[in-house]
């Protein structure tokens, strides 16, 4: 699985010592609502995106069924 975000934190691109702000902290403050990583899964084969699985709807329907009182 290719993930873009994880490694970014370690790259150190800053000039002033002690003033180096972690990227995630910077983005929180510089963007109105912070960074949201979308949760949908895209399934691709050989570089071609085939299926975008929207899991939100699936989970909602299962949960409703499961908590029906007898």
């Amino acid at each position: 699985m290719t993930g873009a975000a994880g490694e970014v934190e370690q790259r150190s691109v800053g000039s002033t010592d002690g003033r180096q702000i972690a990227l995630v902290d910077l983005l929180d403050r510089l963007l109105g609502t912070g960074v949201v990583l979308a949760g949908d899964v895209v399934i691709s084969l050989a570089g071609v995106d085939l299926v975008q699985v929207k899991l939100h709807a699936l989970i909602t329907s299962i949960r409703e069924d499961m908590v029906q009182p007898r």
């Binding site: 699985m1 290719t2 993930g3 873009a4 975000a5 963007l31 109105g32 609502t33 912070g34 960074v35 949201v36 990583l37 979308a38 949760g39 949908d40 899964v41 895209v42 399934i43 691709s44 084969l45 050989a46 570089g47 995106d49 699985v53 899991l55 939100h56 699936l58 989970i59 299962i62 949960r63 499961m66 908590v67 007898r70």
Partner: protein
């Protein structure tokens, strides 16, 4: 700019060889979700106190076997609990533990 940027890091990059494993992972994740919901529901029913001892025993044994079956399936494909936890972004991770 009122909407937060959305980044899609979750790409199941499959090729002919890993197709089976990756899709299996997706399927197992959904099964694991159902299993956890079933356990939560069972605990709720036990708390409500309207089950007989036999029913409780049967429920517990069934769930125990289900948990064991999940462990077997996971180890067959060398998957950990963390592997199965698909992140739903703003909704948080799929599985609660």
């Amino acid at each position: 700019m009122s909407e937060s940027p959305r980044i899609f890091p979750q790409r199941l990059e499959t090729d002919a060889e890993s197709v089976e494993r990756d899709l299996f992972k997706l399927v197992l994740t959904v099964i694991e979700l159902v299993r956890q919901l079933m356990e939560k529901q069972a605990l709720r029913r036990v708390d409500e106190g309207d089950l007989t001892d036999e029913q409780i025993e049967g429920l517990g044994t069934g769930l125990m076997h289900l948990e064991q079956a999940m462990e077997d399936l996971k180890s067959r494909y060398d998957l950990t609990a963390a592997d199965l936890n698909i992140d739903l972004g703003p909704l948080g991770p799929l599985l609660s533990e």
